[in-house]
Point group: C2
Chain length 308, copies 2
């Protein structure tokens, strides 16, 4: 799957991923009204609004982008109907040729991580049959429990040719509280980065490992160091746009080959129509606004990479 | 909810929690066969088997125990039907008067943690209506992202009178890989424990805080230290029984008042009928075997507490 991700990135010339994290207040009124008219102001109504919103954004952007990253929390908050919309979104994006990164940040003791792994990127056995319940291409994983919480995900990746992005240094303001703590003079996130490099070493695709890392756009200096620690790991970089990251901050997340990183933007793309910059599209053309925001993001990052 | 948990513990005289983590291979053949006869060897069939298995165990043990802890991964692995069985289990256990600890180990950046929090222990707004999608009483939370990943859960706890157990030192063999790393001579888990005590300080129930911690039974010496660091935090202690912990290892997780800890056993209770010790019940009476295992676990822990 890392090979497909890289092929998609080369084809689109766009090392970006669109975060499909639909908060209800990002969704234009006409989409919500239609969904509520059909299903009422219910969890089913919310899930339908989310799904219709996603579908329009995917339809208007899929030819420009290599991948999407639905954040499962935004679906899980609407219970079972929300998770059905998550599944529908994953399936639809894969039909459109996109690589789907399930942002699930799971991680537990071994047997429990194994259950998450088969549920999200593998197959679960039921009697003589097997099923791929959610079937994302990549998932994000929390490393706090150490190797035996991560290995079951890696095992499934090997079997199913899927991939991981493991949290190393997250984009949020308080990520340093534990992640930056110094251990023999070096921050914890560097130790986690070294582990990611080790875990990834025998999980190589053609050019890169399918065991990647998450490093926030909001910490570019740390990204530079982590790039060196994990030369063969793809880095998923959240925090661009609404969280504060900019193209020029991101060049050091990439290798000299122009590869090695994929930058996520969620709100900045999916709620673009709410920004003054894209207000000309109006709420009725929110998908077109998202397309324009994708084009601008690609241009910003390309320019930054060309100027380095 | 911490007051209800403590009241339930006092009433049953049993500081234990039954982990409802139903792997298919724990479920007796007759339960699976009946479910598969109705729904086929499908995700729906697996979910039905899980639900019927849980129901029998709850029916046979609920009067002895204060709480249950369903591990959501074991349901999520069966996709949407599995998650419906999770929800059904949560609702049923609450009807029976049990406190339900959703073992979900979520944790993300602020806005995303907020979505998990409303979905699992709070209410989500849909237009003019609000819904409590999963409605557990407590959930477990992963602290790797720091305060802004935890605070949205705390905010919802305050509003809804719910509670948390935050991962401090997990029960698995490799938990030390990151959690034991020394920072100025002290392990990371102690720093996390101090944070839990701080987070919990203004979240007090009558006797204890509703912001608790997870500390594995498999690390009793660390439990002793963490007990002192977090005197007012309830400690959820996984790892008893099948993972290796025993009653005598657990006394230091408790305070002098006999409170302050709740010990989880999953496989040791729910798959008791598979152990030689309870083989006399036979697979057909698996619920009775679980009841006997609960009684033995309560006796083991009571004896250890009386002998200290």
């Amino acid at each position: 799957m890392i090979n497909k991700l890289i092929a998609n990135i080369k084809k689109t010339n766009a090392p970006i991923v669109v975060g499909l994290d639909p908060m209800l207040n990002y969704i234009p009124d006409q989409v919500k009204e239609k969904a509520f008219a059909e299903f009422g102001e219910t969890l089913e109504g919310a899930a339908e609004a989310v799904w219709q919103f996603n579908k329009e954004i995917v339809d208007k952007t899929y030819d420009l982008i290599p991948a999407v990253k639905p954040q499962i929390a935004m679906y899980e908050q609407f219970g079972i109907p929300g998770l059905m919309a998550f599944k529908k979104t994953v399936d639809y994006c894969k039909e459109k040729g996109l690589v789907v990164i399930g942002d699930i940040k799971r991680g537990d003791i071994g047997s429990t991580s194994a259950a998450y792994a088969v549920g999200h990127i593998g197959k679960v056995q039921v009697g003589s049959k097997s099923y791929a319940p959610f079937d994302e291409d990549f998932v994000t994983v929390n490393p706090y429990l150490g190797s035996d919480g991560v290995n079951p995900f890696i095992d499934v990746c090997k079997e199913e040719k899927k991939g991981l992005f493991i949290l190393v240094k997250t984009s949020n303001p308080s990520s340093g509280e534990f992640q930056d703590q110094l251990i023999d003079g070096r921050p914890l996130y560097e130790l986690v980065g070294e582990k990611v490099a080790q875990w990834g070493a025998d999980c190589m695709g053609d050019e890169y490992s399918y065991i990647g890392a998450v490093v926030g756009a909001t910490y570019p200096e740390m990204g530079k160091v982590l790039r060196r620690i994990m030369p063969k790991s793809y880095i998923l970089v959240p925090g661009y746009g609404a969280q504060g990251g900019q193209g020029k901050d991101l060049v050091h997340f990439f290798n000299e080959d122009g590869l090695g990183a994929i930058v996520n933007s969620s709100r900045g793309i999916i709620a673009a129509y709410k920004q003054e910059k894209y207000a000309r599209f109006g709420a009725e053309n929110f998908g077109e606004a998202s397309r324009a925001a994708v084009e601008d993001m690609i241009a910003d990052i390309s320019q930054a990479l060309n100027n380095r």
